[in-house]
């Protein structure tokens, strides 16, 4: 991306500092947290396009019953790789990898993260994990197990489970190291005077997320290793013929993968907590409530994993315990929504692009969250488990949640990051089309699920045809909206109108008090903090 010219203050922005390196080495050898954040952004953009194409292929297949483009095997591989990419390469790294890396040090008044070289290393192994996923595409073909790799099929399938599992393992390491880096950064590098309760909300969510990354990810690491042990040695952990229990695989898998969704959503909620006060020109309602609900979500979210397994054969005791805990974990999320809305109430709302994304986030997230409660109810889940209803739920809450927050964040922090402005009318057009497409694509799936259409099948009964057509058309609209947004962002980052305006939105946190774009070490002098966050006079 092209650099900003030095403005009249005569400073050099981070994009102009090249550390004596040329070309691509300015980027891939840099330990500057800001460049690393962008490295993640560019890699994730590429992966997202691949994932979207796979999703489109699935929707095209489902536009009519029977084979449209592909048969079962290809479809199974497609939804598996789609899931693996979207989960492990996009939404889990997600906001922390991009905006956490870029903004965390600045927001807490630091020059970089605690371990900058480890940070670059985390990106390297992110790339390595992606390469391993690519490798799994060749030879015997990518796994057809679903991204959940359930045993016993995952150790019986003839497809390339091992490279995919190894890729996920390596990506897990990247996640762990990022989490570790952020925890140490937040503990040790806050500016003088920035007590814990003067820290902005986005870093708070990064903190909660980092603990989940640290404590949950190793479980999937060991589980994948055990699957490898099954495939290579026939060790018997999950093979019923040898005494193993496939349900144990599910337990171990979801002990990570449920907390993983909180890795995805907490930073997204953090970004929303940054955007809304700025565009309501009003201090965030209930700062401490948001902090404690963040920590509560991270903590309780650890103990709800069994709700993915209601129909698998768990005991009655486990069933009601997990359902109860699932209902409990919804409470802190609801608290956050109340806080966001209360912030907007009697605020001075300005409906700029970031705010549009934040407001629509709340709408989409509510649908996703409430349908989660539907699924969390034992009696209902018996009917909708493994149907399109589940697919709709998690796309609303994960894609809707993380995706909308991500788009909001990139538009919010765009000028700070790139020193350029995006075109707001194209951004708005993109948003509207994306939003309409999104709801049209995933909305019908709720209905289809209730009516009984199973997920992960390339075929379906004729009675499901109508809503599937609507859904597939919705996909095309959504992708069109996405392309508008993407092209607008890319063009603007490269050729958009330059700006050095430090605080275009009137935000209150430290990132709006450094130059646009920031200099290499963010601050000439580390600031001393003497007032609370989100204060509007």
């Amino acid at each position: 991306m092209s650099s900003n010219t030095t403005d009249n203050t005569g400073y050099k922005s981070y994009l102009e500092e090249d550390g004596g390196r040329k070309g691509i080495f300015k980027w891939i050898l840099s330990t500057d947290h800001k460049r690393i954040g962008l490295l993640y952004l560019y890699a994730m953009m590429l992966w997202f396009c691949v994932g979207v194409v796979l999703g489109l292929l699935m929707k095209l297949e489902l536009i009519a019953p029977g084979k449209t483009l592909m048969e079962a095997q290809a479809y199974n591989a497609t939804f598996t790789v789609h899931g693996v990419i979207m989960i492990f390469l996009i939404v889990i790294p997600g906001l922390p990898a991009v905006f956490g890396n870029f903004m965390l040090p600045i927001q807490i008044g630091a020059k970089d993260v605690a371990f900058p070289r480890l940070n670059l290393f985390s990106w390297y192994i992110y790339i390595l994990g992606g390469i391993l996923v690519i490798i799994s595409l060749f030879g015997n073909g990518p796994p057809d197990t679903g991204w959940t790799f359930y045993a016993p099929y995952s150790f019986k399938t003839g497809t390339n489970m091992l490279p995919a599992a190894l890729g996920a393992f390596v990506l897990g390491f990247s996640s762990i190291l990022t989490g570790l880096n952020f925890i140490v950064t937040i503990h040790r590098m806050r500016a003088p005077g920035m007590t814990w309760f003067k820290m902005p909300l986005f870093p708070w969510t990064l903190y909660g997320t980092a603990w989940i990354q640290l404590l949950a990810t190793p479980i999937i690491g060991i589980t994948l290793l055990m699957v490898a042990g099954e495939r290579i040695l026939g060790i018997g952990f999950f093979d019923p013929a040898k005494g193993g229990d496939p349900l144990l695989y599910q337990h171990l898998f979801w002990i990570y993968s449920h907390p993983a969704v909180y890795i995805m959503i907490l930073p997204a909620m953090g970004a929303i907590s940054e955007i809304i006060p700025t565009f309501a020109k009003k201090t965030i309602f209930g700062y401490k409530a948001i902090v404690f609900s963040t920590l509560a979500i991270a903590f309780v979210g650890y103990f709800v994993w069994g709700h993915h397994m209601y129909t698998s054969g768990m005991s009655g005791a486990a069933l009601w315990a997990f359902s109860l805990l699932t209902f409990i974990v919804a409470i802190p999320s609801a608290i956050k929504v109340f806080n966001w809305i209360s912030t907007m109430h009697q605020g001075s709302i300005s409906t700029e692009i970031p705010f549009l994304w934040a407001a629509s986030f709340i709408f989409i997230f509510m649908i996703g969250g409430l349908t989660g409660l539907v699924l969390g109810s034992l009696a209902i889940d018996v009917h909708v488990h493994d149907t399109a209803f589940v697919v709709a739920h998690f796309h609303f809450i994960v894609f809707g949640g993380v995706g909308f927050a991500f788009f909001g964040a990139i538009h919010y922090w765009f000028s700070k990051i790139f020193g350029r402005k995006y075109d707001p009318s194209w951004a708005k057009t993109g948003w509207i089309i994306f939003f309409i497409g999104f709801v049209t694509l995933y909305g019908p799936m709720f209905y289809l699920g209730i009516k009984g259409m199973p997920r992960r099948y390339f075929d379906y009964l004729e009675e499901f045809h109508g809503p599937n057509i609507i859904s597939t058309l919705g996909a095309m609209v959504m992708v069109a909206g996405f392309l508008i947004i993407l092209v607008n962002l890319i063009k603007s980052a490269r050729h958009g109108e330059k700006t050095t305006e430090m605080n275009p939105w009137g935000g209150t946190n430290l990132e709006w008090q450094v130059p646009t774009p920031p200099p290499l070490e963010n601050f000439d002098e580390i600031p001393v903090i003497d007032k609370a966050t989100y204060k509007y006079d």
Binding site: A114, F115, I176, G179, L180, I183, V184, H187, R188, M189, L214, L215, A216, T217, P218, I219, G221, I222, T223, L225, M226, G229, L233, G234, I235, G236, F237, K242, G243, G244, D245, L248, H251, L252, I255
Partner: protein, 205 residues
């Protein structure tokens, strides 16, 4: 060698480094934790078979290995004392002893495993299939967990060798020894895991 007594200078944050290694240790606890969960589940399902299978392990060798690791934990802990007393020679000796003990542990492990394999017991072996599900799970867990533990011993040994060399070159010294302390912490983790592996595999007779 002696510049300052300070435990950190302007550009170095030893406490951050220590926090980092502790966080990493937590991930290792969770990593092995998944296997301990697996052990608990399968032992619950096959209590008799586990009890019988454990008798095929040599308690003496297991005890010796436990003692070895405990001593090695002491020696590397003592090394942080000696480096702060500016006693480079003792530091090197203590680190060296730790390394040797680690090697002896691995040698013992090698003999244990060879003995089992000679008797037809290895992950997924036909004999295990004959012996039944309980035995298959017990020995599957035995090889997997002690194997993963041994891998961590090897990594620990490499780390200790690096530390040894740096102490010799005075890059680790009484004013800058966080790496030694961190290496020690990692080594104690390896000891901690064994403290649980030992009774769960050798002492359930």
């Amino acid at each position: 060698m002696s510049e300052s007594i300070a435990h950190h200078d302007e550009h170095r944050d030893d406490e951050a480094s220590k926090l980092g290694i502790w966080l990493f240790i937590f991930t290792e606890l969770l990593f092995f934790g998944g296997l301990f969960i697996t052990y608990a589940v399968y032992r619950h399902a096959h209590p008799q078979a586990f009890h019988m299978a454990a008798q095929q392990l040599d308690v003496a060798v297991g005890t010796i290995n436990t003692v070895i690791l405990l001593i090695s934990s002491m020696t590397i802990a003592m090394a942080t004392t000696s480096i702060q007393k500016k006693d480079k020679r003792t530091t090197l000796i203590l680190i060296g002893i730790t390394l040797v003990l680690a090697l002896v542990f691995l040698v013992n492990k090698y003999f244990e495993w060879s003995a089992k394999i000679d008797h037809g017991i290895w992950p997924g072996s036909p004999l295990l299939e004959e012996l039944g599900k309980g035995d298959t799970l017990f020995f599957g867990l035995y090889f997997f967990m002690t194997g993963l533990h041994a891998l961590h011993i090897i990594i620990g040994m490499i780390l200790i060798i690096v530390i040894f060399v740096r102490v010799r070159k005075d890059k680790i010294n009484f004013g800058n020894f966080q790496l030694l302390e961190n290496g020690g912490l990692y080594w104690h983790l390896v000891d901690l895991i064994w403290i649980f592996l030992f009774p769960l595999f050798y002492l359930i007779t």
